[in-house]
């Protein structure tokens, strides 16, 4: 008796799994008849370009709240490098204003974590990566739609200090002082690789290997994402932290003090954007990528401290 129950249980569970992973009923993907060919200068121009297409009306704005990360006609899932956390709200609202009927969900995490998730089957429409090498790996493994990977923006590394500067750090040389506490990203995080490269460059050009070794021994924590380092610095728990310039620029004035790193020693981190093969909204994903590369998206990134590519 119980045996029959167990078998039925297995069937029920299998059915449930099959049902849950079923793709949304495929209606004809609305292909906009007028894809904004030139970068829309203002959002109203984009509206004018988008509304005439009859296809827009088939994208039914959902009346009931759609849970995050459900693949649906009008919801885009964007896996984004954590350093775009500050900009993500503005990007999301600007995009949905320019393309009514769409919603964007950002999954913000270290690029290394997002890459692992994609490789293990996580669903996303667009992937914004902070590291060329992770992008190349994913590309080689065939996760991107061919020819959709483009350069999005760039970022430099900077040293930030708590506003009160408890470690009394005036120059980069002070980072090697004994007793200084530094926060850095883990080496698997793109910002961490960039920081290590910067330290190497600085050691070779200006300071010594001893300086580099001292600085590294002053690191008290290897965080798993770039914003986490900024948080520790902001709380005053560490004396200095290596982050992207965008974090320092976009923060309200007075949040951090900063020490810039000379361009010749700095590491230019290149962000890329691409559409994933597994996406079920490739058309909407293309709109998003187009939006981000156009002057509308670039303007937002510049506002948040990113450097134009």
């Amino acid at each position: 008796m119980v045996l029959i129950g167990v078998i039925c249980g297995l069937l029920v569970i299998t059915a449930l799994f099959a049902g849950c992973t079923q793709s949304a009923p495929a209606t004809a993907t609305p292909v906009p008849t007028t894809l904004p060919a030139t970068a829309p200068e203002t959002t109203t121009a984009a509206l004018v370009a988008a509304t005439p297409s009859a296809a827009q009306t088939t994208v039914a704005p959902t009346a009931t709240p759609v849970p995050n990360f459900t693949p649906s006609q009008s919801n885009l899932v964007v896996f984004t490098a954590a350093s775009l956390t500050g900009a993500s709200n503005t990007i999301g609202s600007s995009f949905t204003k320019a393309y009514p009927g769409t919603t964007v969900s950002f999954d913000l995490d270290g690029t290394q974590a997002l890459k692992t998730q994609v490789e293990n089957g996580a669903y996303a429409d667009v992937f914004i990566s902070a590291s060329n090498s992770y992008t190349n790996t994913l590309n080689k493994e065939g996760y991107f739609v061919p020819n959709t990977v483009q350069t999005l923006t760039t970022n430099y590394i900077i040293v930030i200090l708590p506003p009160s500067n408890p470690g009394n750090i005036q120059t980069l040389a002070d980072l090697a002082k004994p007793g200084v506490r530094i926060a850095m990203e883990a080496s698997t995080v793109p910002a961490g690789t960039a920081t290590l490269a910067v330290l190497n460059n600085l050691a070779n050009d200006t300071y010594s290997q001893t300086w580099k070794n001292q600085t590294i021994s002053n690191v008290v924590t290897y965080e798993t994402s770039e914003p986490a380092v900024a948080t520790k610095v902001g709380l005053g728990e560490v004396d200095a932290g290596f982050v992207y310039q965008s974090t320092a620029t976009a923060a309200p004035s007075g949040t951090y003090q900063s020490i810039t790193i000379p361009k010749k020693d700095n590491y230019l981190q290149t962000y890329t954007i691409g559409i994933l093969n597994g996406s079920k909204n490739k058309a909407a994903a293309a709109w998003f990528e187009q939006f981000m590369i156009s002057s509308a998206g670039q303007q937002i990134l510049k506002q948040f401290g990113f450097t134009a590519p």
Binding site: G5, P162, A186, T224, E237
Partner: protein, 279 residues
Amino acid sequence: MKQNMAMFLERFRKKNYRPNLTYLIAGVLIAAVTFYLAFPIIALLIRVTPDMFFTTLKDPDVVRALWLSLFTTVITLTIVIVVGTPFAYFHSRYSYPGKVVVDTLIDLPLVLPPAVAGVALLVLYGRAGILGHYFNMFGISIAFTTLAVIMAQIFVASPFYLRQAKSLFEQLDPAYEQTARTLGASSFRILALVTIPMTAGGLISGAVMTFGRALGEFGATIMFAGNLPGVTQTMPLAVYVGMEGDINVGLTISILLVIISFAIMIVVRIIQKMEAARA
């Protein structure tokens, strides 16, 4: 088999299907729970070959994370038991002003998200923290040290033991302790020789849960103690960081944790069986 089917159909026809339905539902539920809990573990074991496992075990980061995890968790457990047992005893036996508040506070870390606990500890004991900056003046730093790992573990894991101990002591028939008192035993003797032996089984189970929770603590640790191999990088942190770099490292540590968990559960079952045999 045919006979069983015939009997089964007979009972159905007689509309006496209630017991069968119960068995059916029971079967479904048991299957669902068993598979939901077992399959992820099995998947983990399938994904890592023994070869990969032993190679990655030699990785110095893995070894350090293992030692640090075990070291901190054992200390956490010791402190929770040594301090928590008398506390739970007095808390359950006496009533004092503010007892309700303390009762609620014991349960608080259970519902508090670990990351929040980490932030709270950091804001209090951190170098720029409310209490922390006094410690800092004396040169004592707490955040980003192994001590911080232990403090974070105690914060999130102690409720498991305290609640268990408290409810066990409350349920214990006071007659035993009263008899001991009439025979002239002091409070301490009563606690050690009467109360604890009688509640040992439940206390051990509470200790096991505390150990497990402390071993698996991630959010509070990374927030308050940071992530530094050898100093504050416990196994869960190593899994997370490892997964992103070399997935084999992450999987190996995960299996290590599963093995340790199973080992503890087996040891506890054996102890409980021994206790039951003695009683």
